[in-house]
């Protein structure tokens, strides 16, 4: 009962597939706790971290890493069925050995067919990775290799069996039918269990710092969805045009299709201490200048914002070397804004944009999205985007308000003497430290690849989801800049 070489190749490939698809699934499932985790992102099973340097973060956060994302938080990672398919291939390969069907042309043809599934999926995912995400994750590559191994081995085995013309009767349709059913069970059982056991994240909807009002007394909101439909839900996004997390969030929102159901306005909140007194370190050099350009652009603001997202990495890098670079770049692209950028009016407007954040007790991080005043929790801006956002929008459409009623919401910090009445409770005397653009470390993606998260945290996300997507980027509060030293 010594296995033929081709079967050994299939079995080893299946084992590799199980291991790497398993690691990818593990990384994905970890995030169901809404926390930040490092990823396995290495060709050596079990080795990890380094997510920021690879496409694992990008892959996992992309919409291609899972399916049914609106039904279950994060969706079902496609690496889960991948792991199940490799397990089935291993089982079927061993079964061929046990039942001495390794020379059976029909049985080996079925094996080749089964192995074609992960191979086909791998080709599709690799194409998506390269074409849409612009990166490839190591775990995914290992799965692609495993897919190639099993398919190659199975095809060789089938070809040999065909040539051999073994005298034994070939596998019956009944046998193949049963095996097909077993294969379906291998995939269906883990998926059904996943759906049944995945934690309920709906209880978090509407519980994250909702807005009590969404007025725009300063006229500083940027209308992002100029062609929004009449039924679109009003939304406010706090963003920084040079924030990678914001860009990644924009991409995710776009691919989710949910952006079409929103009528978004943006409040600019550059994480650049040149103009933002609430941070002690500049996370996005040049963000103040680019924000001024957006505010100067009037109806063309979305165009400037789009450009900023496209070139944000180079603007940040150039401005790091030369503080005037951001101004040069934006004026070169939009010469009609040259006289406005840097003007007293533009500075004042940008300042008012940040004052809006102060007046509404906004957290110091980007991006943040408020849909009809209900905040999309920072933990929901990447993997859970479709799940959470679709529910918030649906609730709005049904006339249901998520979260505590406005009256029960924490009132703005009491500042009896301050007529602004907007100063935050102020535990923070220190400036916020820019939460780097790195999105929270996200787990590597299953076969498919995707992008980083913002994070915001608060993290704040990048062009190419290259560096780990910044989760919304939080910043430490700080004291006013430029307040002059002691006499």
């Amino acid at each position: 009962m010594r296995p033929p070489t081709w079967l050994i190749v299939v079995l080893v490939g299946a084992l590799i597939g199980i291991v790497f698809a398993g690691l990818s699934t593990y990384d994905f499932v970890q995030h169901l706790d809404r926390q930040v985790h490092s990823l396995h992102c290495s060709f050596i099973p079990g080795m990890g971290a380094g997510a920021g340097e690879s496409g694992c973060q990008v892959a996992m956060m992309s919409t291609y890493s899972s399916v049914f994302r609106s039904r279950v938080w994060g969706g079902i990672p496609i690496s889960l069925p991948a792991m199940a398919v490799f397990a089935f291939i291993a089982f079927y390969g061993l079964d061929l050995l046990l039942t001495r069907r390794t020379n059976d042309r029909r049985a080996t043809w079925f094996l080749a067919l089964a192995c074609g599934l992960p191979a086909f999926a791998s080709i599709a995912m690799l194409t998506i990775s390269l074409a849409k995400l612009g990166t490839v994750c190591k775990l995914c590559v290992a799965i692609y290799v495993a897919s190639a191994m099993v398919l190659t081995g199975a095809i060789i085995g089938w070809r040999k069996a065909v040539k051999l013309q073994a005298p034994e009767p070939p596998a019956t349709n009944r046998f193949l039918g049963i095996m097909f059913g077993v294969g379906v069970a291998f995939v269906a059982v883990p998926i059904l269990l996943y759906l049944a056991l995945a934690p309920d994240h709906s209880k978090f909807l509407g519980t994250c710092d909702n807005l009590t009002k969404s007025d725009d007394p300063y006229g500083v909101m940027i209308h992002m969805d100029r062609n929004a439909s009449a039924n679109a839900v009003p939304a406010i996004e706090i963003l920084d045009p040079l924030c990678p997390a914001c860009k990644a969030f924009e991409d995710r929102l776009d691919s989710s299709g949910l952006g079409d159901r929103l009528d978004r306005k943006a409040i600019l909140f550059p994480l650049d201490k040149e103009c933002n007194w609430m941070i002690s370190e500049t996370t996005h050099p040049g963000a103040c200048t680019v924000s001024e350009a957006v505010l100067c652009a009037g109806d063309r603001a979305p165009d400037v914002l789009k450009w900023a997202f496209e070139v944000q990495e180079s603007v940040r890098e150039e401005t790091k070397k030369d503080p005037a670079a951001a101004g040069r770049m934006v004026k070169q692209r939009f010469p009609e804004l040259a006289s406005c950028i840097g003007s007293a009016d533009a500075r004042s407007k940008l300042n008012k944009s940040m004052r809006w954040a102060v007046n509404h007790n906004i957290r110091v991080l980007t991006p943040q999205l408020f849909v009809d005043n209900v905040k999309l929790c920072d933990e929901d801006v990447d993997l859970g985007l479709e799940y959470a956002l679709s529910r918030i929008i649906d609730a709005h459409d049904r006339g249901v308000r998520l979260g505590p009623p406005p009256a029960e919401m924490p009132p703005p910090p009491a500042m009896p003497e301050n007529q602004h009445g907007t100063t935050p409770p102020s535990p923070e005397k220190k400036k916020a430290k820019p939460a780097a653009d790195e999105p929270k470390p996200l787990p590597p993606a299953p076969a498919p690849v995707d992008e980083p998260k913002p994070v915001t945290t608060p993290t704040e996300t990048s062009d190419k989801p290259a560096p780990p997507p910044p989760p919304p980027e939080p910043l430490p509060p700080e004291e006013p800049a430029g307040s002059g030293g002691p006499p």
């Binding site: 046990l98 269990l193 007293a344 007790n361 110091v364 301050n418 220190k430 004291e479 307040s483």
Partner: protein, 227 residues
Amino acid sequence: MTPIRAGVGAALLAVPVMLTVMWIKSADARLEEATATPTEQVAIASAADVGYCSPELKKILRRVLMSCGLMGGDAARGCQPVQAKNVATMSGNDFNALFTPMKERGGIIEFEKNKSELTPEAIALTNQVFSEQKGASWFFVVARASPEGSTEHNRELSKARAEAVMTQLRNQFKDPDLDKEVGMLWLGEEFAQLETTFCEWKRSSKGTCAPEHINRSAFIAWIDCQL
């Protein structure tokens, strides 16, 4: 043979099934735990409150702001010399010293003798200083007159100068918060005349800076204190 095949199948099916169940349950447990544990909050956007905002300074600022119509809902906007002196309860020099930490946040808008119109340079400096609000909550306009002329005339002149600055701000910035954040004082020649040390501040005039020049002025500055 069948039991062996079934065993192999069950074992391999158990791999994705058991791992999935185990990982999900583990994530669920961590989620429950995290939900029950307060997490460190991200900072909340807030107005500035810098180092020089000592309790004593805040006390005086509060008194000035209350008395000058910015806080407390009192009617009249602006403080006249006598009021300012009483409210500050300190000498003119001490009063001026309060503002010295704000050198980088302020400027001195100079006027021609016996005039209250802003020159183009004065308008530019006013706009520049005001547009650099950043996290500040309060903007002070403290207008003065040089000692030439009668006390009564200088009182009116300094008031007109403060109002000229206010009008410029109102016209230029259309800021709905203007009346809540700009505090005006006009001191005439009676209180807290500026010394030439203030010549080092940003001034709208590039000319000579004698005491009489720098006191034909409106001192403007953002104050980065929360009250």
